[in-house]
């Protein structure tokens, strides 16, 4: 899978520590997380149902889906507990001049 160029996602100040915000990048719904001072990005859609993870709760380095509390690791995308079983896709992030950039992957 090829990677694309870095794209601006969100201003760092908009994402509080241990929180998540939505960002639309190239027509994709992406969730941007801030945990332990670092930024992470994943697809925003839960793999269990039609819910946005950016509406969920960040606990440490885990995102909990707002609907059924399925949990994913925000660093690796791994599904951690029922009812989710499929991982979410993760993306590289970088912080530059107070902005968070994300590098999407070619489909």
């Amino acid at each position: 899978m090829n990677v694309k160029d870095w794209v601006f996602a969100i201003s760092a100040g908009e994402v509080e520590e241990e929180d998540v915000m939505p960002a639309e990048i190239d027509g994709w719904d992406i969730a941007i997380y801030r945990a332990k001072g670092k930024f992470y990005a994943t697809h925003d859609k839960c793999t269990h149902g039609d819910a946005y993870l950016s509406e969920g709760v960040v606990v440490g380095e885990v995102i909990e889906c707002p609907l059924h509390q399925g949990r994913f690791c925000i660093k690796t995308g791994k599904a951690l507990s029922a009812p989710v079983s499929k991982p979410i896709e993760t993306f590289e992030t970088k912080l530059e001049a107070g902005n968070v950039y994300v590098r999407l992957k070619e489909a």
Binding site: D19, T47, H48, G49, D50, A51, Y52, E55, G56, V57, V59, V62, E64, P66, L67, H68, Q69, G70, R71, S81, A82, P83, S85, K86
Partner: protein, 327 residues
């Protein structure tokens, strides 16, 4: 893989009632409240167990003592439910350990319950879809007694355990579990049945009644109280997916709220299941007036169900929509 397509709609309706920023105030996870509630309940259970111990030499007094102990034990459903959501504690292993402990004591397979309960939150009060729909209309007195006596519960839970242990899941339950996770459910059932078998064999080998009088009999005779609390959550509310009306928020005292882990705020729990039990009162203060606060206690709601929501003594044929699609 099940796809719960009703979800986006559910979140949209949630946002109409409470915005993300407001909700965030209530979703923070902590360990201390859950530990206080859990060990508080455990202390009550040990205390009631001690009363059973004292009454073993008082003849017939053993039965009321076991009933009281069983009522205490039945409240372990509250931490089972809360830990199935994963919201009770910040520390995950504490959450999972208590989930398993409560699941084994109350005879609810904890991992399967997580899937089943996700279905309930998606399709609450929708006949034919909600896996935990309690006494759908038309409901009769016989069905009420059958539910509250918990006969249905033992048939259902042991049915799950025995079916899952032999590697089979009923198609209705199957829709909530992804293929890749079936093995977990089957393994869970085998572990639980092995634990119960070990208890039976151990009791016979050591010639002791302890398992029977401190756990099995109290569990069976005490659980109707917890069933009555469940009746108050939804039964008699409109059977349609309306967050405002499909559950009840019951007015009750501090002690009852302690035993049911604040599930008396049931509307608020369905509005935002990410909110831990210890924040539901605060969420209620914020949005409760938009929900369905019935302004009645559990006994009054029980009376209302018995007098207003039953149609006769004997069961009537129900119109249940077949499941038309995979969810």
């Amino acid at each position: 893989m099940p796809h719960l397509d009703a979800n986006a709609e559910l979140l949209r309706r949630q946002r109409e009632i409470v915005d993300r920023k407001t909700l965030k105030k209530f979703t923070k996870r902590r360990d201390l409240p859950g530990l206080l509630y859990f060990f508080g309940l455990l202390t009550c259970i040990v205390g009631s167990g001690y009363i059973v111990f004292l009454s073993t030499s008082w003849g017939w007094l053993l039965w009321p003592a076991m009933l009281f102990h069983g009522i205490m034990l039945s409240h372990l459903f509250a931490p089972l439910h809360e830990t199935s959501h994963g919201t009770a504690f910040r520390t995950r292993w504490i959450n999972e350990a208590i989930l398993w402990f409560c699941g084994i004591v109350t005879i609810w397979p904890p991992i399967y319950f997580r899937y089943d309960h996700a279905g309930h939150h998606t399709y609450a009060q929708e006949p034919g879809k909600d896996p935990e729909l309690v006494l759908p209309a038309p409901r009769s007195l016989i069905e009420y007694i059958y539910y509250v006596s918990a006969i249905h519960l033992w048939i259902k839970n042991f049915g799950w355990l025995f079916r899952h242990a032999r590697g089979y899941m009923h198609p209705f339950n199957r829709q909530f579990v992804p293929d890749e996770d079936l093995w977990r459910i089957y393994l869970e059932a085998r572990i639980m049945l092995a634990v119960y078998a070990a208890l039976i064999i151990g009791s016979i080998y050591f010639q002791t009644w302890a398992v029977l009088i401190y756990w099995a009999i109290p569990t069976v005779i005490g659980v109707p109280v917890a069933r009555m609390l469940r009746v108050a959550d939804h039964t008699g509310c409109p059977e349609e997916p309306d967050l405002h009306t499909y559950a009840r928020t019951v007015t009750t005292d501090l002690l009852t709220r302690f035993f049911c882990w604040n599930m008396s705020y049931h509307c608020e729990h369905h509005l935002a299941p990410s909110v831990p039990f210890h924040q539901l009162k605060k969420l209620h203060e914020e949005v409760g007036d938009q929900m369905n606060p019935v302004g009645k206690g559990y006994i009054a709601v029980q009376w209302e169900v018995l007098t207003k929501h039953l149609s006769g003594v004997f069961p009537k044929r129900k119109k249940v929509q077949p499941l038309s699609k995979k969810i």
